[in-house]
């Protein structure tokens, strides 16, 4: 069960073309939060807002659809969304909080709910946790090197980046695309990703990513009762177009394959860490 437990898997995209326009894939994250905000399911959501430098996000607590729209699109660098989780409940005073995060951030969130030592007023106020698939992430300086040195694109002129089909691609405002083989990016990955055992945000209420479905669409896993309820209501209200995941190519087989690859590679890293030195190993957080 490398894909975690889920109730349904769907191919979907946002029905609102305005949302879809600058989204990374099917606009699932932004559309779902916008719906949840309008319906009062959440009072706000922690998302990766714009930062001081291009493609360097800062976590924000978005309480309007406009702020959600500002946060669309993947930035392939660290955005410590969990750092705002207590701000959301304590400073912003939200009772029903949404949060988007990579699998590790959703893991952090669930630990924070079950072992909330330093998380006063957080555990009972999480109303919707949306996870995004994640193979690896890059420190900002690594991303900059990939984009500026390897792809030869100025960070300021990039409008979108994505990873797919074995390539890292940068799209510029002039419509050019600059690509490098993913292989060249591996050395810039952050080390902490190499012990990560979750590809598809197994612990989210709803998780989504591009892999498995055609361009412009997203693969969606609906996992928990909370997720099922929100997703069901959003579908009922016509917020998403959907297709049967069994009918789309490459489908869940590819998601499963990539999940297996990631997990077994990182399991191996964990094993190697155990005997890293001479009769001394590196710490394993899962034991």
């Amino acid at each position: 069960m490398v894909l975690g437990s889920y109730k349904t898997a769907i191919c979907a995209r946002a029905a609102d073309p305005g949302i879809l326009a600058k989204s990374q894939d099917g606009g699932i994250v932004t559309q779902l939060f916008a719906f949840a905000l309008e319906e009062g399911i959440i009072d706000g959501a922690v998302v990766a807002g714009p930062g001081d430098e291009p493609f360097k996000p800062e976590p924000i607590v978005a309480t309007t659809v406009a702020e959600l729209l500002e946060a669309r699109g993947t930035r392939y660098t660290i955005c410590p969304n969990m750092s705002m989780i207590k701000e959301a409940t304590r400073t912003y005073g939200l009772d029903k909080v949404g949060i988007v995060g990579t699998p590790c951030q959703i893991q952090a969130l669930r630990k924070a709910q079950l072992y909330p030592m330093g998380m006063r007023s957080v555990p009972d106020k999480i109303a919707l946790a949306v996870g995004i698939f994640c193979m690896e992430n890059f420190p900002y300086q690594g991303l900059e090197t990939m984009v500026e040195d390897l792809c030869n694109v100025k960070m300021e002129s990039a409008v979108k980046m994505d990873i797919g089909k074995g390539k890292f691609s940068v799209y510029t405002e002039r419509g050019a695309v600059s690509q490098i083989p993913l292989k060249l990016t591996h050395k810039f990955e952050q080390g902490g990703c190499h012990v990560c055992l979750d590809y598809v945000a197994n612990l989210a209420d709803v998780s989504t990513g591009s892999v498995g479905t055609p361009d412009g669409w997203s693969t969606v896993f609906v996992r928990t009762k909370v997720g099922e309820d929100v997703w069901g209501r959003a579908i009922g209200a016509g917020y998403f177009e959907t297709k049967d995941i069994a009918d789309v190519k490459p489908g869940l087989d590819l998601v499963t394959k990539l999940a297996n690859e990631k997990i077994s590679k990182n399991q191996k890293t964990l094993e190697e860490r155990a005997t890293f030195g001479v009769n001394k190993g590196l710490r394993n957080p899962y034991l």
């Binding site: 750092s83 952090a108 909330p116 957080v122 902490g192 197994n202 964990l270 957080p285």
Partner: protein, 322 residues
């Protein structure tokens, strides 16, 4: 029947399997229980495969085995009473705890008992002033009389702000040296933070109840839940924001989630180059950043079951079943 159906059953008073009930033998005085350790260290990857039961929950508190409550005491050492306030902050949840699961047999603030009695769980708040022989006697008495000793909060666990004490304060200027309780007695588990959140105290109280009074399977779940907190106790009495550097970043484990930033009670942490940076002048040595970090411990066997455990705790508190 799975762990969680057992767990829910005890909270909802519902029995849908004939073999369920365990005869709860209430010991008059607590005997030293073997704290069951979860079997083998699980392989790191344990996929989330818990089947969540969909049946609506009834919350029939009157059917709970009220006679078989555990006994809890709050032992006040040199702390600010913030940890106790945090416990009390559970409001109606506190009453649910006291009505159904635990008798508060000792608590200088809330219970009229002078001497530390026998009890199942001692929640110790504060560090021990070694210049005050009463405190030293009390902490030893607490160890002697309690089956499980919990360091409730950062002062008991790590010294926290009392590490910075220099004496000279009215009206006991000679009180100048304070030690985490683990320097003087064996401690079974830590619940760090300044103060530990009300929700974390609630969760640990419920799990302590299951550990002492539950079925074998409930004991197993509770032991698995409590294990990382026992490991923290075994890890030692020193904590600092530096733990993030030493045991997370330097070990190649940090992935920049920012949880430590949110957990720090004095905002001593910010993110620099995608990793936490500690303002060491600000740090009060509470230890919660490390404890809360998903890369200090992450036990899949428990956390994968977050949804069902959350529901069970809600049911225990009388909130479940909408």
């Amino acid at each position: 029947m799975g762990l969680l159906s057992y767990l829910k059953e005890i909270f909802t008073g519902k029995q849908d399997a004939p073999e369920a009930p365990v005869a709860p033998a209430a010991p008059a005085a607590p005997t030293k229980v073997e704290v069951p350790q979860p079997a083998e260290a699980k392989p790191a990857q344990t996929p989330a495969d818990v089947k969540v039961e969909q049946k609506p929950e009834e919350t029939k508190m009157e059917e709970l085995p009220v006679a078989d409550k555990i006994t809890i005491g709050h032992v006040h050492m040199s702390g600010c009473t913030g940890c106790l306030v945090s416990l009390a902050d559970n409001y109606e949840g506190l009453f649910a705890l006291l009505d159904n699961y635990a008798d508060l047999v000792y608590c200088l603030t809330l219970a009229d008992v002078r001497d530390i009695p026998k009890m199942d769980v001692a929640l110790v708040e504060g560090s021990v002033c070694i210049n005050d022989h009463h405190s030293v006697e009390d902490i030893k008495k607490a160890r002697e009389n309690a089956t499980i000793v919990v360091a409730l909060g950062a002062c008991a666990a790590y010294g926290n702000v009392t590490r910075f004490a220099r004496g000279g304060q009215w009206n006991q200027p000679q009180h100048e040296s304070y030690l985490p309780i683990g320097d003087l007695i064996d401690v079974d588990l830590y619940l760090p933070a300044c103060p530990p959140s009300k929700e974390s105290i609630r969760n640990v109280a419920v799990m302590a109840y299951l550990l002492l009074k539950g079925t074998d399977e409930q004991k197993e779940l509770a032991a698995a839940y409590l294990k990382p907190l026992m490991d923290l106790a075994a890890r030692g009495v020193e904590a600092c924001g530096c733990d993030l550097m030493v045991d997370v970043i330097n070990q190649g484990l940090c992935m920049g989630c920012g949880t430590c930033v949110a957990a720090c009670p004095v905002r001593a942490i910010d993110m620099v180059y995608g990793k936490p940076n500690i303002d060491r002048e600000m740090c009060i040595k509470c230890g919660v950043c490390y404890a809360q970090c998903p890369r200090s411990f992450f036990n899949f066997d428990v956390i994968n079951q977050f949804e069902a455990i959350g529901e069970a705790i809600d049911a225990a508190m009388g909130k479940g079943g909408e």
